[in-house]
């Protein structure tokens, strides 16, 4: 039967490496086909229950990228990809399996935007993530989720031919008649490709890692403690450790460290314990009164020198200036800092509310007393730091800081609505303005995670959980 088929097919005279082409059976996978098309008699298990190019998204774990060895390919068939891509009109080329054809799980297709190509060519991208996390691809400044998109089509991958491999197979001893036409070889049938979707960096983990072991007052005096901690495998992270553990691009990680007010001490990125920071700031303010420094023009060398003599390490002292101040311009000789009124006042407000909620009047009174001289406290400074609630005729203030909330929108909104079932826009806005979701505007975010109600046209809209 097979013989007959062979003789009646138009190309049965074509041979390649002694293999008769009719050994290939093409099966089109079309639903509801019902055997009406002239298909060969069933030979092996047919897999006809197919859907047309249904791409399924599965998440790709780095650990799943198996590594199979592939020797540097030396195709001994001439042609290669170029022969296929530059096939001249009125000509043909034989497509065959490569001598090294196989699953080649170490070959991966990655779809990426043309604009990212230069980053790849200049070695500026990397995959990041722990084995149990979904892999991301990071450029210098952005983070992309990596999705595997499968296909049920047969995707034949044809590598370029190795020019040195041309005409090499004469000695292969295949005495069988060889096709003298050019041939291109398929190295692998690709099951799909990876696609990239821009995502927000996954930074909550960074906060968690750094909070494990903040820099504390007693560390200053125990010089050996650092070595001890390193020995004991305590949570200390260098930049490279963070890159290994946190799924964010370099730029995003750097920005996150800054917004967390982290500081690099002896090569390790640390958060400074809040009480320690509090003591340091108070000492700085105390010294500025003693030495009659202007809070608008603090000379770093001088300030750090004095703080050092008070027992604070140089690095931490200048870190304090960075956290609570901004560099003043036009300074000659050494850096000059201006303390930021808002940041300093917020610091004291946090300290006051640490003990729990307070009546508005007593809070404002205490806050104004504690703030350094020359600084004016203003309740508007506390946007995104505190919430108020009315109990009877009293207004109470309590601490609710945006910096303590998760950065993923779903978790953020869930926590917000747990705190308060209904939010007015002016209250909600400070708690969501830092959310960045690529491809989603802030209105889109609200639409996705909240329900907006507006009792009357001129009333303020109210947001509740979806």
């Amino acid at each position: 039967m097979d013989k007959e088929w062979m003789h009646h097919s138009r190309h049965s005279e074509a041979y390649l490496n002694g293999v008769d082409i009719s050994n290939m059976v093409y099966r089109l996978q079309v639903q509801g086909h019902n055997g009406k098309m002239q298909m060969p008699p069933p030979r092996s298990s047919l897999n006809d229950t197919n859907e047309r190019r249904k791409a399924e998204m599965t998440t790709c774990h780095l650990q799943k990228l198996k590594n199979l060895k592939m020797e540097q390919s030396r195709p001994d068939c001439c042609g290669g990809a170029a022969a296929v891509l530059n096939l001249q009109p009125n000509s043909s080329i034989s497509v065959a399996y490569h001598p090294l054809f196989g699953p080649h799980d170490d070959l991966i297709l990655l779809e990426l935007d043309e604009k990212l190509l230069p980053d790849v060519l200049h070695h500026r991208v990397s995959f990041r993530g722990q084995p149990d996390e979904d892999a991301v691809l990071c450029t210098r400044s952005k983070t992309y989720a990596v999705k595997f998109v499968g296909t049920s089509n047969s995707v034949f991958l044809i590598p370029p031919s190795d020019p040195s491999g041309l005409h090499e197979n004469e000695q292969d001893g295949d005495k069988v008649k060889r096709d003298n036409k050019a041939a291109s070889s398929v190295i692998k049938v690709a099951p799909g490709s990876m696609e990239l979707v821009e995502v927000a960096p996954r930074l909550d983990k960074l906060k968690m890692l750094l909070s494990e072991n903040p820099y504390k007052f007693d560390e200053v005096f125990e010089m050996d403690e650092l070595n001890e901690m390193v020995d004991c495998n305590m949570s200390l992270y260098r930049w490279d450790d963070l890159i290994d553990k946190v799924q964010a691009s370099d730029d995003e990680l750097r920005a996150a460290l800054k917004s967390l007010s982290a500081v690099e001490i002896d090569g390790y990125w640390r958060l400074v314990d809040e009480d320690y920071m509090d003591g340091l700031l108070k000492m700085l303010l105390h010294n500025s009164v003693l030495n009659e420094w202007s809070l608008d023009a603090l000379h770093e060398d001088e300030v750090v020198g004095v703080l050092q003599s008070d027992g604070f390490p140089c690095k931490i002292a200048s870190h304090c200036l960075q956290v609570y101040g901004s560099e003043a311009e036009g300074s000659l000789g050494g850096r000059v800092w201006r303390l930021d009124e808002r940041r300093v006042c917020i610091h004291f407000a946090r300290g006051i509310l640490q003990g729990g909620k307070m009546k508005m009047e007593s809070f404002m009174g205490e806050w104004a007393r504690k703030a350094p001289e020359g600084m004016q406290v203003n309740f508007d400074m506390l946007e995104g730091e505190v919430l108020t609630e009315k109990l009877g005729i009293q207004t109470w203030v309590y601490s609710f800081s945006v910096s303590s909330l998760p950065s993923s929108p779903a978790e953020r909104f869930s926590l917000l609505f747990q705190e308060r079932p209904k939010w007015e826009w002016k209250d909600l806005q400070p708690y969501i303005r830092d959310l960045r979701v690529p491809g989603l505007t802030s209105d889109g975010l609200l639409l996705k995670y909240t329900r907006r109600t507006q009792p009357t046209l001129d009333a303020d809209p109210v947001f509740s959980a979806r």
């Binding site: 009646h8 050994n23 001598p99 054809f101 991966i108 790849v120 995959f127 290994d244």
Partner: protein, 129 residues
């Protein structure tokens, strides 16, 4: 862990790979299933100066065309550094790198149903079974 993506091709010089894509699967007859290497799959023809192609697999002919990819595909190869050369401490801990070994910008896509290359005489033979 971090897996760096390396590229040794230099700017704009990544070797171009090709894709021939068709719906369904191509199966070798059972005798050949274990040794596909060097086996011919089919014959790719470009009958005219247009970017139309036919692909003849066994006694089926497919008609398709060359289409540029909307976004290029990079061919990455995973390279695992053996732990044998541990003295070179510069290699990252995971010891794995991805190397760009090619880029794909076009595919020749066959998305139509195949035409059977069967003579009417054979069809008669077939039908008589």
């Amino acid at each position: 862990m971090q897996i760096r993506v390396k590229c040794c091709c230099g700017e704009g010089k990544c070797p171009e790979w090709a894709i021939v894509e068709l719906q369904g699967v191509v199966e070798a007859q059972p005798d050949f299933q274990d040794r596909l290497q060097n086996l011919q799959i089919g014959l790719l023809c470009r009958p005219s100066s247009q970017e139309n192609y036919t692909f003849t697999v066994g006694y089926h002919e497919l008609t398709g065309s060359k289409v540029p990819l909307k976004k290029p595909l990079l061919v990455l190869k995973k390279i695992k550094h053996s732990n044998a050369d541990e003295d070179s401490t510069t290699v990252n801990l995971s010891g794995v790198e991805m190397e760009v070994i090619g880029i794909i910008r076009h595919r020749i896509l066959f998305k139509t149903r195949p035409k059977a290359l069967i003579s009417s005489k054979l069809l008669l033979v077939l039908l008589s079974f």
